[in-house]
């Protein structure tokens, strides 16, 4: 039998980082979450997946961001991971797909505030204007020298930056630097 003291505790990256709240942009690290990489060729008729590349299906707790023609980033609260997995397996039961757990690979950071887009543009070369990157957009791109998935889950100036965990320190530091520079005119 396992002794209780041997039960592993979870240590996420950036846990020690306090939120950085600046006048025009704030940076928060988000708690651990369930994440899956879904790859599939045919998702016709699956409401949560069958939407254009670069767009996200969103519910209160879950999202499915279409990153490419056959790739989705799926997210849910940590406790809903199994449900999400079962849901996909059910929806795509007769089709070929690959579902890989990447909950520990990805780290999410949130940047918000009126200068959030400007701060992101310190390292992200995309057009983040309302017209080009509206509510519900999500894409893989770059933040400085780190690859990220950038998502805009709502109409508010709130963006979620997801990166691989070993890039989290860099991405987090970059966003704070960018947020403080962007807030100066």
């Amino acid at each position: 039998m396992l002794e209780a003291r041997n039960l592993a505790r979870r240590v996420a990256p950036l846990v020690a980082e306090a939120p950085v709240v600046l006048e025009r942009a704030s940076v928060h690290t988000l708690p651990a979450h369930a994440r899956f990489s879904l790859r599939a060729r045919d998702v016709s008729g699956v409401e949560t997946l069958d939407h254009p590349i670069g767009r996200t299906w969103l519910s209160e707790k879950r999202f499915a961001a279409r990153l490419g023609p056959d790739e989705w980033l799926l997210g849910a609260p940590e406790s809903d991971g199994d449900l999400l997995q079962q849901g996909i397996e059910r929806a795509l039961s007769s089709r070929f797909f690959s579902l890989v757990d990447i909950s520990h690979r990805n780290v999410a950071i949130e940047i918000s505030g009126p200068a959030a887009a400007e701060a992101l543009n310190a390292g992200c070369p995309l057009d983040l204007s309302e017209a080009a990157f509206p509510n519900g957009s999500a894409t893989r791109t770059l933040l400085g020298k780190a690859e990220i998935v950038l998502a805009r889950p709502s109409a508010a100036p709130v963006y979620r930056v997801e990166c691989w965990r070993s890039f989290a320190t860099y991405a987090h530091g970059f966003l704070i630097e960018a947020a403080s520079s962007a807030s100066f005119r």
């Binding site: 396992l2 041997n6 039960l7 592993a8 505790r9 979870r10 240590v11 996420a12 990256p13 651990a32 990489s37 790859r39 056959d70 070929f96 797909f97 690959s98 890989v100 757990d101 990447i102 909950s103 520990h104 690979r105 400007e118 543009n121 310190a122 390292g123 992200c124 070369p125 995309l126 057009d127 204007s129 080009a132 400085g144 020298k145 780190a146 691989w164 965990r165 070993s166 890039f167 320190t169 860099y170 991405a171 530091g173 970059f174 630097e177 960018a178 403080s180 520079s181 962007a182 100066f184």
Partner: protein
């Protein structure tokens, strides 16, 4: 110091805000709104520096970014010293310290000025002609001396204390330049609702309107029109106005780089504010309203302090309320200088104007100026100046039918000269647009566009204000997709000039020092010498004489140089060619280009979930790609050698623990996964059972080893592939490439799981005992879980993929747990292994242990030209497979030829001698040079377990040389080695199954 040259009224300076700064230690007073140049002039200072080559006294030539002469070092505090700033651009601010350059011991007495006396020696091509012999002097004498004498300013000695920001931006219309044409363009574009960015290098938008005091536009004063236009633009959400922002580079697909100077002008800037911001703008359309540059006149001693451009004299008077002199002579071949003369006269200054054009070629401007009481001398040339540290007189002479008449000295303390105008086509040229020569304008103007851009106003050769406004508006409208047309009424602008090259003179041409390029000290004589020596192409003349090659990019000199070359060769100017303009338009700070990418943000530093534990336990780290990996764990008093020796023995005698989390991991999923693996790897995969692992070897199509790693089959349709740390992205790319482009019919998907899993290698005879109480759901017995098997279960209550694999040759496990649990599991294993003396080890020990077993490391034993057979791994190749990536190439003649380099072990005669990795290997050290090199040492260590040094090497035909003696280079000569099998420890391989 009193501002004795400041006019009592007028100008855009804020007289309610006095400021003080220093110039060479002297306190200078000025007002907010001054540049350093205007404040110096307000205090009667023209002498600002010494020239680059001849150390001639130089002053302020221009009023803007085209300035070639007044280059100052600017000190804003520790870590904020910046050389070669143009005094005409730097905004004066409280507490700034400016200093002249290129002089010693002082600006007024400069030892280097001896160069000026020696000027007959320093002709064009001086370096090429002089420092040829003796050859032995090249490195030791000439280069150090030339380097010491070369260059302007002094490089900063400490890290830049400022922060720099970066910003990508997008717009529909980018307007570069906010003079009348640019503002009109912005007004037109902004009305459409499109996104507009307006960038101008000056602190205030308005360009020439900032110094037009009497002009009207649409019935308003130019200032009122300017203010209204800016207010209108500023009120619109879709417009970004960027003063102090220089568009310096026009790159592909309308990508424009600009620097915004955010805080340099502010004495009160918050410490955290960025000094500059680099804008990288992607514009749908670009309007280039970059204006024009005035040309100096080329006459003897035209570089004396106090000799300025005519329009610059006007700007200092009208915009800054500063008199550049009390007795000013204008020398001109352009009508525009009459306006300058009139404005200066109106300021109460004694003015004379000398026109190079004969009276018959002049217009009504002569009479109008004379009516103001100004003496106008038409048909005169300028043959020299009086004065050295400051101009004291202009020497002129009448020219009649090419004959030069009697000289006359007009005493003065300032000269305003104008040789006409040159459109600023730099950005247009950078955009790869074709320049067209306009003979009427004596200038190159924008021709065919290469990108979505259009020029407007003076940048296009339209010098009349009304034309500037109309062309700007039209360009802005078109750029925004609108057809709106607007006409403007405005005071006519005096335009037109007669092109002149080197001015006619009665002096001995060999003695005339008439400067063309003020920054690089190139005279008309230098250009003519270059042509006598056979240089004809402007690109060659430019490089030989260095004209136009200084940091000002020849803004004031290029057309004069071209004209002189064209005239000397007696060829039309366009046939001489024009030079290519390259970024940056004006110098850019390194800080702006680096932006936030310094210190912790220079590069991502990738660390594993176990990194903090290693750091807390004293690990030394090494960089592997972007990763920082634990290298070894020295105990107090241990050096690297001792620590590694201890770690190596601990693994073989008990148990070691190693962080292998950086290994690349790829989940290969799909019904065709085995087929896909068959095609990508040399090994066979079809029959690999679920729960089994295999060492996989991957080739590029050219037959050479690309990567290796253990592959586990988790299910019929699911493989867990591992790669080398550095090779992870490369391998995934390689796999994706083949999957997407060669075999899209395969039902397989690839997902990187490198960072999903923390990997803890537990290696050594006590490895099983160490982990057995932590693992649940997996039978660890040899029978149930043999070497090269994989099981899914739990460790410390967390799900894991447990591999029974070994990169040490001893019993070993690699525990894969979700990354967030990595540290906790690591600590649990440490605790469980304590009774067996569990020892954390780093990459150095990992390297030694695998070398003891002759296991290769891709990138160390291989270098992109090594085949499986070369490193003794031909046995991995599945013979029955008809094809896999690289198989065909393994049959290429060169890859099957005899004499290929093969992996062998080397033993030194002295067991304590550790060979250098990379050392060359020869058969006979006494053979003549160049020697035949048989190969090189790929890995070399001291092995505590073997009690001696060990080495791996690639040697020509090496496997047949076992037992033979070879010779390996050392820093001092050669040492003797014996060739042997590359396995040094446990050759029978029994320990791995123990």
């Amino acid at each position: 110091m009193a501002q004795t040259y400041r006019l009592p009224t007028g100008g855009r300076i804020d007289r309610s805000k006095p400021i003080r700064f220093t110039f060479d230690g002297r306190t200078i007073e000025g007002f907010a709104g001054d540049t350093v140049a205007s404040a110096l002039l307000a205090n009667g200072i023209h002498l600002t520096g010494r020239s680059f080559k001849y150390h001639r006294p130089r002053g302020i030539l221009t009023h803007g970014s085209d300035e070639p002469s007044a280059l100052l070092s600017v000190d804003r505090g520790p870590g904020r010293i910046d050389p070669n700033n143009r005094a005409t651009v730097v905004e004066a601010r409280e507490g700034l310290k400016a200093a002249s350059q290129n002089r010693w011991p002082s600006l007024s007495f400069d030892v280097g000025a001896v160069n000026d006396l020696l000027s007959p020696v320093f002709v064009a091509g001086f370096y090429y002609k002089t420092f040829m012999w003796p050859r032995s002097f090249w490195d030791r004498v000439y280069e150090p001396v030339i380097r010491a004498a070369a260059g302007l300013g002094v490089a900063p000695q400490v890290p830049d204390a400022d922060r720099y920001a970066n910003r990508h931006a997008h717009c529909d219309v980018l307007v570069v330049g906010a003079g009348p044409a640019g503002l009109a363009a912005a007004l037109a574009a902004a009305k459409t609702g499109k996104r507009v960015i307006v960038a101008d290098e000056q602190p205030e938008l308005g360009g020439s309107l900032l110094h037009e005091t009497t002009t009207t536009i649409d019935g308003q004063s130019a200032e009122a029109w300017r203010a209204a236009a800016i207010a209108e633009l500023d009120a619109q959400e879709n417009v970004i106005l960027l003063p102090r922002t220089t568009a310096f580079g026009y790159y592909n697909h309308n990508h424009i780089a600009m620097t915004e100077r955010v805080t340099d002008h502010r004495a009160d800037a918050p410490k955290t504010a960025p000094r500059e911001r680099l804008w990288q703008v992607r514009a749908g359309e670009v309007v280039l309203a970059t204006g024009a540059h005035e040309r100096p006149l080329v006459f003897a001693d035209n570089d004396r302090p106090g000799v300025m451009l005519a329009e610059s004299v006007r700007v200092f008077v009208n915009r800054y309320g500063v008199l550049p002199g009390r007795k000013i002579v204008f020398a001109t071949s352009a009508v525009s200088a009459y306006a300058a003369a009139a404005d200066v006269k109106a300021a109460g200054v004694d003015v004379t104007l000398v026109d190079l054009r004969p009276e018959i070629e002049c217009g009504a401007e002569v009479e109008r100026l004379q009516a103001l009481g100004v003496e106008v001398l038409t048909g005169h040339t300028v043959v020299g100046t009086k004065g050295r540290m400051r101009v004291e007189g202009l020497i002129v002479a009448p020219v009649t039918n090419g004959e030069i008449g009697a000289r006359r000295v007009i005493s003065c303390d300032c000269v305003g000269m104008s040789g006409g105008w040159t459109p600023a086509v730099h950005l247009f040229s950078q955009s790869r647009g074709k320049l067209a020569y306009d003979e009427g304008l004596d200038a190159f103007v924008p021709g065919a566009s290469a990108q979505a851009e259009r020029s407007a106003g003076a940048a296009k050769g339209l010098y009349d204000l009304m034309d500037c406004l109309a062309s700007g508006f039209a360009a802005g409208a078109e750029a925004a997709g609108s057809t709106e047309v607007r006409t403007f009424s405005a005071t006519p602008t005096p335009v037109g000039f007669k092109p002149v090259r080197a001015l006619p003179t009665d002096a001995n041409p060999a003695k005339v020092r008439a400067f063309v390029d003020f920054q690089n000290d190139v005279t008309a004589k230098d250009l003519k010498l270059a042509m006598r020596e056979g240089f004809e192409s402007i690109e060659h003349v430019k490089r030989y004489t260095t004209t136009g090659m200084a940091t000002d990019q020849g803004k004031t000199s290029n057309m004069n140089a071209l004209g002189i070359v064209s005239e000397s060769l007696n060829r039309p100017l366009p046939s001489v060619g024009t030079t290519t303009f390259r970024p940056p338009y004006t110098p850019v700070t390194f800080g702006a280009l680096v932006g936030p990418a310094r210190d912790a943000l220079f590069d991502p530093i990738r660390t594993t979930p176990i990194h903090d534990w290693a750091a807390e336990h004293g690990a030394k780290f090494e960089n592997v790609a972007l990763w920082r990996r634990a290298w070894f764990f020295p105990r107090p008093g241990e050096d690297q050698h001792a620590a590694v020796a201890r770690e190596c023995k601990a693994v073989r005698n008990g148990v070691g623990i190693f962080d292998a989390s950086t290994l690349g991991k790829i989940e290969v999923v799909g019904p065709d996964a085995a087929e896909f693996m068959n095609r990508l790897y040399v090994n066979p995969w079809t029959k690999l059972g679920v729960g089994r692992c295999r060492y996989g070897l991957m080739l590029k199509e050219d037959g050479f080893i690309l990567d290796d790693g253990v592959v586990a089959r988790l299910a019929d349709d699911r493989f867990h592939v591992t790669t080398t740390t550095g090779g992870a992205p490369r391998v995934l790319n390689h796999m994706e490439d083949y999957l997407q482009t060669e075999w899209p019919e395969l039902n397989v998907f690839l997902t990187s799981t490198t960072e999903q899993w923390a990997v803890i290698a537990v290696q050594g005879p006590k490895a099983g005992e160490t982990i057995q109480n932590l693992v649940s759901g997996i039978d660890l017995s040899n029978e149930a879980f043999p070497h090269m098997a994989v099981r899914e279960g739990h460790i410390c209550g967390t799900p894991c993929r447990l591999f029974r694999v070994s990169f040490t040759g001893d019993l070993g496990y690699e525990i894969n747990v979700p990354s967030d649990y990595g540290r906790a599991v690591w600590e649990a294993v440490m605790e469980a292994g304590a009774p067996f003396g569990i020892t954390p080890y780093g990459t150095e020990t990992m390297h030694v242990l695998r070398a003891e077993k002759g296991y290769i490391i891709v990138g160390q034993e291989t270098d992109g030209t090594v085949t499986p057979d070369d490193v003794g791994l031909a046995g991995m190749i599945a013979k029955a497979k008809p094809d896999f990536v690289g198989k065909r190439s393994l049959a290429r003649p060169d890859l099957v030829a005899s004499g290929r380099k093969q992996l062998v072990g080397l033993e030194t005669a002295d067991p304590g001698e550790v060979l250098d990795e990379g050392a060359q290997i020869v058969a006979d050290p006494d053979q003549p040079i160049p020697m035949k090199m048989l190969g090189h040492v790929t890995s070399s260590y001291h092995s505590a377990n073997c009690g001696r040094s060990i080495a791996l090497a690639l040697v020509e035909g090496g496997r047949a040389l076992s037992g033979k003696t070879l010779h390996v280079t050392t820093p001092t000569g050669f040492t003797t080695v014996t060739v042997r099998e590359p396995v040094f420890f446990d050759a029978e391989g029994g320990r791995i199954n123990a």
